[in-house]
Amino acid sequence: TALLDERGYSGPLVRGGNPAHLIEKAVRDRITSSLYWLEQCYGLNAATLCDRAAELTAVGGTYGGVGKPTPFLCLAFKMLQLVPERDVILAYLNWRDDEYEKEEEDGEEVKKEEKETGDVVNGSNGRDGEFKYLRALAAFYIRLTWEPVEIYKTLEPLLADMRKLKRRTREGYALTYVDQFVDDLLTKDRICATSLWKLPSRTMLEDLDLLEPRESPLGEELEELEREQEEKMDESE
């Protein structure tokens, strides 16, 4: 297609180039020849992509002996072709059903507990993004395509999202969490079979007054937790 053609590409540029090229060539080739890509990703737009993302059961890059691309990676690549507008990406990342909450007001215990848990971790952002794998997908896309300050500002609130994620590894599956996955995006140089361009450190951006120091959602509980941890360490010595 035109999007994949080196010379024919006329879409929006991201970081000075064709956004699809943020995924390595060898991996791209595996994606575009995979069954999932051919049968599940054709003709998707930013809205219908949600159908596929809602079915995701794991994050990950490639797996198995031949390095099969995960649906997660295929959808990420699809997004790099579509280059959805910013609001769409933010909807993927943070959308939550307000009406639903109202209907459930007299709801079950579990719901209430969830809300209380949310309060502990400073509320709002901890559990936004109803579909957690879609949220992870949007986070991955943001890390690849946005500017450093925006990346920190938009992704750091997700460090309060403790929901579990499955990660497809070469051999099988591993457990991770939304907060862990986002932390990896902010600190590692390779994830999901993709090299991440070098993100300036938080400290550097703080020194330039582009970012305020991060405030942990643990807040005042932080000191107490640290003391507890130290005590535990002392005991084990």
């Binding site: 003709g43 998707l44 737009n45 930013a46 809205a47 219908t48 949600c50 159908d51 809602a54 959805p84 507008e85 609001d87 769409v88 909807a91 993927y92 959308w95 059903d97 009406e99 639903y100 109803e130 579909f131």
Partner: protein, 52 residues
């Protein structure tokens, strides 16, 4: 139907607006909740059958 919706008559993929994305997510959420509810009902029915 979904496919036609996305691709349209010209064969070119129609760009979705953010409103469409939100509507889609809302629909998907309802669908998922319905499925969960059905699962619980099925389970309860099966338990009842087992008890009898």
């Amino acid at each position: 139907k979904q496919h036609q919706l996305a691709v349209g008559e010209s064969g070119k993929v129609r760009i979705a607006t953010v409103e469409e994305v939100r509507e889609r997510l809302k629909w998907l959420k309802r669908k998922r909740d319905e499925e969960k509810k059905d699962e619980v009902i099925n389970l309860e029915e099966r338990l009842e059958v087992a008890r009898e």
